[in-house]
């Protein structure tokens, strides 16, 4: 299973390295969202700083769907998805490979947006909470990638791919979104404790990786 996962991961990374479609699209979109927020809310810095974690995750939730869409859209368009489905390998391995690839794309998007986020909202992370900050990003990206990978394949089978993915994926991600916002907010000094949110995010990640792994074979079949 892990060998299959590694092969699929390598394939997705190679495609992304050559096209840079997913991450660049997500990055540009995230920047646009942050800019729109600045204009829409008047750029009042102390107030913006208080809400920074929320802005970041809104930008990331919507731009993330672009990145997630891209990786399965490429497979659908070229017919590679069918080849994958026909390959006599464990569907769980294919899921894991795509899940790792999507997690890496999402994290790359986060890292690309991070400098702009810091500059626009003038945020600073206290040294002792830098681990929390990184954890909220990583676990949030995993929480998005886990159901996102499954639903991107489901959505790729529909006539309205670009619409279906956010429609299915955003409501499902509500717990991960709340938990990620609160954990980031804690890291930025906005709230006093994040123990519960950290645990919830962890539970969410484990539940959705497991559940998606189990049903993924049904999404692949044609």
């Amino acid at each position: 299973m892990l060998r299959v996962a590694a092969a699929v991961l390598w394939k997705d990374l190679k495609i992304e390295m050559r096209t840079r479609d997913a991450v660049s699209a997500a990055f540009v979109f995230a920047v646009l969202v942050l800019v729109v927020f600045n204009f829409a809310l008047g750029g009042d810095t102390p107030e913006m700083r208080r809400l920074a974690a929320g802005f970041f995750w809104v930008a990331f939730a919507f731009s993330g769907t672009l990145a997630l869409n891209r990786s399965s859209a490429i497979e659908k368009e070229s017919g590679a998805g069918r080849a994958l489905a026909l390959a006599p390998v464990d569907a769980g391995g294919i899921y894991l490979g795509k899940f790792f690839a999507n997690t890496i794309f999402l994290m790359a998007t986060q890292l690309a947006v991070l400098p702009l986020f810091v500059i626009f909202f003038d945020v600073s992370v206290p040294a002792e909470r830098i681990g929390w900050f990184a954890a909220s990003f990583a676990l949030g990206a995993i929480g998005f990638a886990a159901p996102g990978t499954l639903f991107s394949v489901v959505a790729a089978n529909t006539r309205m791919r670009e619409l279906m993915l956010p429609l299915l994926f955003i409501p499902i991600s509500v717990p991960a979104l709340i938990a990620a916002v609160e954990t980031t907010s804690f890291a930025l000094g906005g709230i006093d404790s994040a123990g519960f949110w950290f645990k919830l995010l962890l539970v969410y990640d484990v539940v959705f990786v497991t559940a998606s792994l189990l049903v993924f074979e049904y999404a692949l079949e044609e």
Partner: protein, 229 residues
């Protein structure tokens, strides 16, 4: 047989509806603080309970479909989801109508309201997905995936929202609606819940029958086209 049973169920439903309405407006006492507005409680709460039950049925039917590949489970899943979304929509409409005069606001991000709203979105996605997949088998499989994953999400959404609510300021609500319910009110609530369960059953059965008929027509059309070519 099927139509006989439907006829029995539907006439029972009409009788229960009449009884429930009489109980709501004449038997149950008028609430001291909220007045007549509180009557919407007897519709709002049973609708919510039955909608949640409907989503449980979607989950079970989706699971059964993937295990058996019998189209009848897909028909049951879609029927349960549609009636569930209809009931949830009614919950979301009756909620604000009740909230405005009693709490002074149309909406609050309270745990139960928000959970209902998120569920509504999830199952709306489920129904939308079905519209955009051509092949009946693909449609059944893909929506079964959403039916299962969506339901697994429910407890997580609930805990997330409950905890989130305790951290953020919220308007002061009067004590829980079901705390210290008058026995007559409780009896009315129970009758209304049973009535809505019956309504759910009737609509569910009708919807399953329609879906089965649609499947039959699709099969026939396929055969006819096969014969022609």
């Amino acid at each position: 047989m099927q139509t006989r049973r439907n006829a029995v169920l539907e006439s029972a439903l009409f009788m229960w509806m009449a009884v429930a309405l009489v109980m709501v407006f004449f038997y149950a006492p008028i609430e001291k603080e909220q007045g007549i507005v509180q009557k919407i409680f007897y519709f709002h709460v049973p609708l919510a309970w039955n909608a949640f039950l409907g989503f449980l049925i979607v989950f079970v039917a989706s699971f059964r479909y993937l295990a058996t590949r019998d189209p009848k489970w897909d028909a049951r899943a879609v029927a349960a989801a549609e009636v569930g979304v209809l009931f949830t929509t009614l919950v979301l409409i009756t909620g604000p109508i009740w909230a405005k005069p009693t709490w002074g606001i149309w909406w609050t991000w309270d745990a139960r309201l928000t959970l209902t709203f998120v569920l509504w979105l999830i199952y709306l996605g489920y129904l939308m997905l079905r519209r955009y997949v051509e092949s009946p088998e693909r449609r059944a499989v893909l929506s079964a995936i959403v039916g299962i994953i969506g339901f697994i999400d429910v407890p997580l959404v609930y805990f997330a929202i409950r905890w989130w609510r305790t951290q953020h300021p919220q308007p002061v609500l009067m004590g829980g609606q079901d705390s210290g319910l008058d026995p007559k009110m409780r009896a009315t609530l129970m009758v209304c819940s049973a009535t809505f369960l019956l309504l759910y059953t009737v609509m569910f059965r009708r919807r399953v029958a329609v879906e089965r008929m649609k499947m039959l027509v699709d099969d026939l059309r396929e055969q006819a086209e096969g014969a022609r070519s």
